[in-house]
Amino acid sequence: MEPLGHYAPFTGWVYPNETVIEWSVAIVVYPYITGLVAGAFTVSSLYQVFGFKRLKPVAHLALLTSLCFMVFVPLPLLLHLGRPERAMNALLTPHWTSAMAMFGYIATFYMALLMVETWFSFRPFIVAQARRRSGLPGTFYRVLTLGSYDLSEEALRCDRKWIFWLAIVGIPGAHGLHGYVGFIFGSLKSREWWSSDLMPVVFLFSAIISGVALLIVLYVVSCKLRKVPIDLACLKGLAYTVWAFIMVALVLEGLEFANIVYKAREGVETILEYVTGPLLIPYFVLQFAVGAILPLLLLSYMIWRGTTGKALIAGVMLSAFLVLLSVFMMRWNVVIGGQEISKTGRGLLEYQMHVFGREGLLIAALLVAAPVVMLWGVTRLFPPWEEKAA
């Protein structure tokens, strides 16, 4: 008998072809990164469009974060494709009835939008550097000015207008990008665990909380690294944002699960066996209890008590980490969880994650870390910090 090494062990009745779990941890990372993009962009839009002035210290950082993560969004997909050299086929000869075919267009559009908005946001800085610096860095900034050195009041007003409108267009762009990711899963009728009208919105709200949580972490860490005081008003603003959206995310995720249980269609016994068995810790404990309810309670407590200073920073940071974990677990539970429940409705499979290899744990971890490293480099070239950028 040949070894069953990388195939999924199963219990009950499963279709034989299901014993190869086709969407791996790479496909878990993909919606996770996409969500962080959309969430970070939400923060920048809250400032640029909705005038949340207290978020000003992170507005530019949010934009750069969104951009850096967006660069890495296609990578897990490319790593996953059986024939990555044909990836462009989806752009050149798209099949319009496929939700996945839209990805190339939405992602390209959004990427372009992010780059243009970032350029407008950093134009005064780029011009200043182009004038001041010489040598290679000078040439770099001079090329980036695209020949426009005009920093008159009128030109800056024009820039602001562009930023405003790009931020407005970017909201449906970023959220469309992520809503569509939810649709990829929600629109499939083959799996009860995925087939839900709520899926796109669930993805969207979890994306928002993950992006804001990421910004909390990045902002606090960057302040520590730069040895500057943390703007507590800004941090509170971010905490309020997470607090508000986490409630919506929780309600939606709860409703989705309640719908499956209450409708109790065929196969619900297997789903219940699954969530109370192998998924108990990833789903109820990590995604809901530790990752969502705990930070919600913690943030509520801090808002109620008016906590401030170091306690506020520690509390908000902890909540942010937990939210980041919760959202990752949510992606995991959807992507892997869905495939661990057999399409027969009468069996369960067990995903065997590789550590090495194209779609292994190591690459997945690198994919999540890479945008942060890139962000570190980009903030060197385009400091998003208030006093320097201004």
Binding site: E18, G82, R86, T93
Partner: protein, 281 residues
């Protein structure tokens, strides 16, 4: 009919030529685009150009293929599984199948059927290898009240969700009602594998593309039967052209009360079953 197809091909080629020209102007990046455009042109040729894919002089507008399974006849010998694997180059392991057979067993005092297929570890252990197919005699000492076999294969749905979700259109439904996959165009995203509610699709790791049962299209277009039908010793599998009222499949559908699997999906499968039980999915 042919005229119409040729004119649409000419238009498509003109469009691709334009695309190709633009690409040349656009330079290095778009050079890749042109080559893919050429590939796309090549892809459309066999199906719409000669109207004979994959067999010369075969006209896919003249047939409407369908498949029947008489579960009351199946003895679970698994020749169909073995024949299919060898005919279609399916890996000889327990995780890749164009067709497989499920065994449903009701034991005394139990309301739910116990279901296994030849891919079950117990059955593999009994056969001695993943490439040897048999059902273990695991219920030898149990009191069986009802038992039967159900052969499974791609349902070649009229509304195939796998075709709907393919981002590049590499999988498509032919005029004669078979869902095919263009292996030179599939990008290997496996969205179709997820979309199929029957678990009929599998991924070929070596080729990096998805594969599945296509009713031996290379044989049926030559007037032959699919291999699984040909090797079945008891006639549990029936195949034919619904355009021919006297074909085995037309008679099978007309003379029996037939069922399809998972009709609630709206996929309208084209494999018709006789003699299956409520537990069959």
């Amino acid at each position: 009919m042919k005229q119409e197809r040729i004119s649409s091909l000419v238009a498509r080629r003109a469009f691709l030529r334009k695309l190709g020209r633009t690409a040349t102007v656009a330079g290095a990046v778009a050079a890749g685009a042109a080559s893919i455009a050429q590939k796309a042109a090549a892809k459309s040729e066999p199906s719409s150009g000669r109207a004979s894919f994959p067999t010369p002089d075969y006209d896919w507008t003249k047939h409407r293929w369908a498949f029947g399974v008489d579960a009351t006849k199946c003895i679970g010998c698994l020749r169909c599984v073995e024949g299919c694997k060898r005919e279609n180059g399916v890996p000889l392991d327990a995780h890749h199948f164009n067709t497989w057979v499920e065994r449903y067993v009701y034991l005394e005092g139990e309301d739910r059927a116990r279901v296994d297929s030849q891919a079950d570890p117990v059955n593999i252990a009994a056969s001695g290898s993943e490439g040897g197919y048999r059902f273990a005699n695991r219920y030898q000492d149990a009191k069986v009240t009802k038992a039967f076999f159900v052969p499974k294969l791609c349902n070649q749905c009229t509304n195939p969700p796998c075709v709907q979700v393919c981002p590049v259109g590499a999988t498509y439904r032919t005029r004669d009602g078979v869902v095919l996959i263009d292996q030179n165009y599939c990008i290997g995203c496996r969205y179709c594998v997820q979309a199929c509610p029957y678990g009929a699709r599998w991924f070929n790791e070596e080729k990096g593309v998805t594969q599945k049962c296509y009713w031996c299209y290379h044989r049926i277009t030559k007037g032959l039967q699919p291999v699984c039908v040909e090797v079945c010793p008891v006639g549990a599998r029936v195949f034919g052209d619904r355009n021919d009222e006297q074909s085995p499949i037309s008679l099978f559908i007309r003379n029996n009360r037939v069922q399809v699997l998972k009709p609630e999906t709206g996929n309208e499968p084209n494999v018709y079953y006789v003699g299956i039980d409520k537990a069959v999915r």
